[in-house]
Amino acid sequence: MLSVHLGDGSGVSAVLETEGLTKHYRAKTALADCTITVPQGHVVGLVGPNGSGKSTLLNIAAGVLSPTSGSVRIFDAPPASSQTQRERVGFVAQDTPVYSGLSVREHLRYGKHVNPKWDDELARRRIEQLGLNLSQRAGKLSGGQRAQLALTLAIAKRPDFLLLDEPVASLDPLARREFLQILMETVAEHEVSVLLSSHLVADIERVCDYLVVLVASRVQVAGDVEDLLASHHRLIGPRDASVPDGQVVIESSYTERQSTLFVRSDGPITDSRWIVEAVNLEDVVLAYMGQGRMGSSDHQEFS
């Protein structure tokens, strides 16, 4: 498992820290030995195929689910462990649950009553911006409107950390774009750290500057997006050429005469037989997802 931390002694504190976090159910393991450190001030993307444990991790971080073993700390304390901490964390769960019998206005009133730091003006401004009818019952809203309502509720409590579980998965492209616009505007305005999961790499590429890849309940890679892009390459070379020094092969494919390797570079590539190509974020995600599927987290040495 690879972790590329932002830690450079600059004192950036972590908003989320897990160590050996595991969640077992009777029939299956939802999360296995997850150890990550997510720094503050970023929009972190959590990617992976369905069933890989993204939802489990987010629900545990939000304090809604308890782990089987391992530790998890939000702002250096267990999730939902104190009033202060509950005020600092906002969560939008999968399927964006709302109370279908209550109106939009009543949801806002609810938020105001149970959250001391509630910013009612912000909430109303957003609702107006979205064109939602305050008197409408939440059960009658469209999927996109419900997601926006849930996001508004999470944002208006002015958290320092926002957790979003596949918030745009079931939204049409326009609703998706609008959701992300509001999310980014909020991040810019209020300096919120965000952890959001998605299986749409295009969205992740747009909004995230930190990435965690989760496959089969395990973390495959975690790190700053720019660092990841800078440290991974695609190598194309003759079939018989050996892997250059300091390169860890994540994925490989071969034809009769050619090898194509997706590598993580721990050092410069000096072997001139290989053509070096830059990669994009989707390449990185796919490569690590492929590696995860095969169940191996060690590099393969080709001799």
């Binding site: 304090g63 969560f91 769960a93 649950p97 001391p116 409590k157």
Partner: protein
């Protein structure tokens, strides 16, 4: 949080209010007539010598409403499954717990508010209903004069039942996390506890009194009435029939029957054969059995030296038991409430 708990509960409260109103109207409309019938027919009945007949028809007045009252147990069950079980379980079914538990208010505050609103509504609903029921049926109850027979549906204990059913529903809903299974378990649990109280615990909630008396003259040629010497309103728990030697006879139900054997021989069933002959068998004349027959039957019964030991709760203990039983259910409800909060707070 209280406002929100109330808002969530609003529809259920409205339904309860409408139903209470309907029942209240039914009681209000028919109540005065019951009272009127009581004062005109029952009060002067002894002077008119028609008490038996009038009492009989009065006791079966408004059968629909009377049946409703005996089924008012259901009120507690309905409250338990429709108000109690969904409190936590519904939020799991719909997933909204993921919204509720990530607000700044703690889970304890969240559940406490919901239980407070539901609990108060339960007490008010059950209280109003029981009040109306007790008021409406008080003339009939006076005539029936068997307060313990309708203990479950009068005065104050039904409030305890309803509160307990509610608390049980909440607790089971919190543990099971699914509404329908929680409802089923609530019904089962409620029935079990109620059964335990009814058949085992209640009779011990006040000091049991004992009395013993000899069985002597039979009232009729049919047999001896048992327990007929106790106050009609007292609650008889056990009766033991013994003879002079201390031999215990099996349970006799309401009485011991005479069994004619032919040619003047008569057996006191379950006890033994009469040592004397009963003249003319058990035939009766037009104005009851002739004096000679009655004398012979008395002699037969006396020869066995039967006496009865009766354990009972007197009518005077009625209110003491009501309060104690109510208190027990309230304590149970409180324990369940604390348990529910503890349970959902577990990480």
């Amino acid at each position: 949080m209280i406002w929100f708990a109330w808002r969530q509960f609003r529809t259920q409260a409205l339904i309860a209010f409408v139903l209470l109103l309907a029942v209240g109207i039914a009681f209000l409309v028919t109540g005065p007539h019951v009272l009127h019938t009581y004062h005109t027919q029952i009060v002067g009945c002894s002077a008119r010598h028609d008490c038996t007949a009038v009492r009989g028809s009065f006791l079966s007045a408004y059968p629909f409403l009377q049946n409703l009252l005996t089924e008012s147990e259901l009120l507690a069950v309905v409250i338990g499954i429709f108000w109690g079980a969904p409190v936590v379980a519904r939020e799991f079914d719909t997933g909204t717990y993921r919204l509720a538990w990530t607000q700044s208010a703690s889970r304890a505050r969240w559940l406490s508010a919901k239980m407070l609103v539901g609990g108060i509504a339960t007490v008010i609903t059950a209280g109003v209903f029981t009040l109306m029921a007790t008021w409406w049926s008080s003339p009939i109850d006076r005539v029936r004069d068997q307060p313990f027979s309708l203990f479950d549906t009068r005065d104050i204990v039904p409030i305890g039942y309803a509160l307990f059913a509610f608390a049980l529903g909440v607790a089971l809903g919190a543990v099971v996390r699914r509404v329908i299974p929680a409802m089923v378990l609530t019904i089962a649990g409620f029935a079990a506890v109620r059964g335990l109280f009814n058949f085992v615990i209640r009779q011990h909630l006040a000091t049991i009194l004992h009395t013993s008396f000899s069985l002597t003259s039979p009232a009729t040629t049919g047999g001896i009435r048992i327990g007929g010497n106790i106050n009609p309103g007292d609650w008889i728990l056990t009766t033991v029939t013994k003879n002079g030697a201390g031999k215990v006879f099996p349970r006799f139900g309401n009485g011991i029957d005479f069994q004619p054997n032919g040619n003047g021989s008569v057996t006191l069933q379950g006890v033994g054969r009469c040592p004397n002959k009963i003249p003319g068998g058990l035939g009766t004349g037009r104005s009851g059995p002739p004096a000679a027959v009655r004398e012979a039957l008395s002699k037969c019964v006396n020869s066995f030296h039967l006496h009865q030991i009766v354990s009972y709760q007197p009518v005077s203990h009625y209110w003491g038991i009501q309060w104690l039983e109510l208190a027990s259910y309230v304590v149970l409800s409180a324990i369940l409430a604390v348990f529910s909060v503890w349970w959902i707070r577990r990480p």
